[in-house]
Subunit: 210 residues, 2 copies
DNA sequence: TGAATAACGATACGAGAATACCGTATTGTT
DNA sequence: AACAATACGGTATTCTCGTATCGTTATTCA
């Protein structure tokens, strides 16, 4: 995954190797310790052992750095893996999302979305590093489902993406942060009933949340 | 609607009448003119003709003020009016939301969500002034639908709310801001197929977007 | 070998948010 | 009439983001 905002130039003194990772690591730690508003770029720089200008050389804003550090080294973005049926793929992906967002420090994710919304560079990083790979993973699952005859050929992957991810985002940002299985079931049922052909395949149920 | 963050005390010199509205109006105007990052609390205060401290006496942060001013004097929060059928109620409410968010200056709403997410006071104001009334409006529509026999009795109003509002929020914050009728249709179809009884009532179609 | 380029840490700076005061003004209570 | 409480406009202060600039250092190219 691309970490810094822009590729460094090829001429001149090269950037110190390992500095990118040190900065990302420091930003991530400080996010979990103090949240977005609770730390400064000075602290990031000093914890990473670099000058502050070296941070701004790699990311154009605090928001962009935070988004980069929080979308860095997430598990495989291919969350909607092939389980043999579309419902299984969908449930597997949603189980991953539910476990991720359902863990203790939920305010963190609100902070990340806040950072994302506040800055165009952060928004672009968020799309590139997080949203796009997951969208593509879902699009592949939809293609498999169409090939299997589970979904109709004209299924709109963008709308499915909205229907799948939207309610999660809504709960995290606005709702009471409780991500339960009822919501997952409703989403799965809704998508399949709207875009399905009626033909189903046996489902391998994913394990319930940790 | 309650405007300022906390009720003023009952003792001592009373707050200048009209100042609340002047501040909200100034904040709103500046939001439409320059966006969230494009104006300062000094400008709000001077345009409203008050001291800056008088602004902070009423709202604890810029984010809270912006949320209060942008959720102030919206049209009736009862967006899911009784049209005779649940599908009609839902389509009417979604048409209002689509027209609202679909209008030209969409970045404004991104800014509002950003402000909302960045501050706990702003979040609380947003819930109190905006989300809660619309949630209740939808809950009433669901109750009517259950009474008519269109929805099952165990329909979970919170989940329906997530399924209805989530995709819209997702498109505004993360998607390409294009709120089209395909999305509305998929949402309506999804909710009714998941929670419906199969019994339907004739739909009065709302006018399509401006 | 020398010039060009760009990173490095460090520091100064301007802008704006939020807080803390100042003296003054306005209300209700004693 | 005196007093407590609070609002008022105004100003100073602190904090942090983001930009600019310093002299130094490392690397590539001619």
């Amino acid at each position: 995954m691309q970490t810094s905002w822009e590729e460094p130039p090829e001429r001149g003194r090269p950037r110190r190797s390992g500095a990118d990772e040190a900065i990302l690591k420091a930003s991530r730690e400080l996010m979990f310790e103090h949240g977005y508003a609770g730390f400064s770029m000075d602290e990031v720089a000093s914890r990473a052992g670099v000058g502050r200008q070296s941070v701004y050389r790699r990311w154009p804003s605090k928001a962009a750095l935070v988004v980069a550090s929080m979308t860095w080294t997430f598990d495989s973005p291919d969350v909607f893996k092939d389980t043999g049926s579309f419902e299984g793929d969908l449930r597997a992906g949603l189980a991953i999302m539910r476990d991720l967002y359902g863990q203790s420090s939920t305010d963190i994710f609100g902070d990340v979305y806040f950072a994302m919304a506040s800055d165009s560079a952060a928004r672009e990083l968020f799309n590139r590093n997080y949203v796009a790979p997951r969208r593509e993973s879902l699009a592949r699952a939809i293609e498999r489902a169409i090939a299997r005859g589970e979904l109709r050929e004209e299924t709109d992957a963008v709308i499915v993406s909205d229907m799948v991810s939207g309610p999660f985002l809504y709960r995290i940002l606005i709702g009471d942060y409780e991500l339960n299985d009822s919501l997952v079931n409703a989403i799965v049922e809704g998508v399949i009933k709207v875009f399905g052909t009626g033909q189903t395949t046996d489902v391998v149920t994913p394990p319930s949340g940790t």
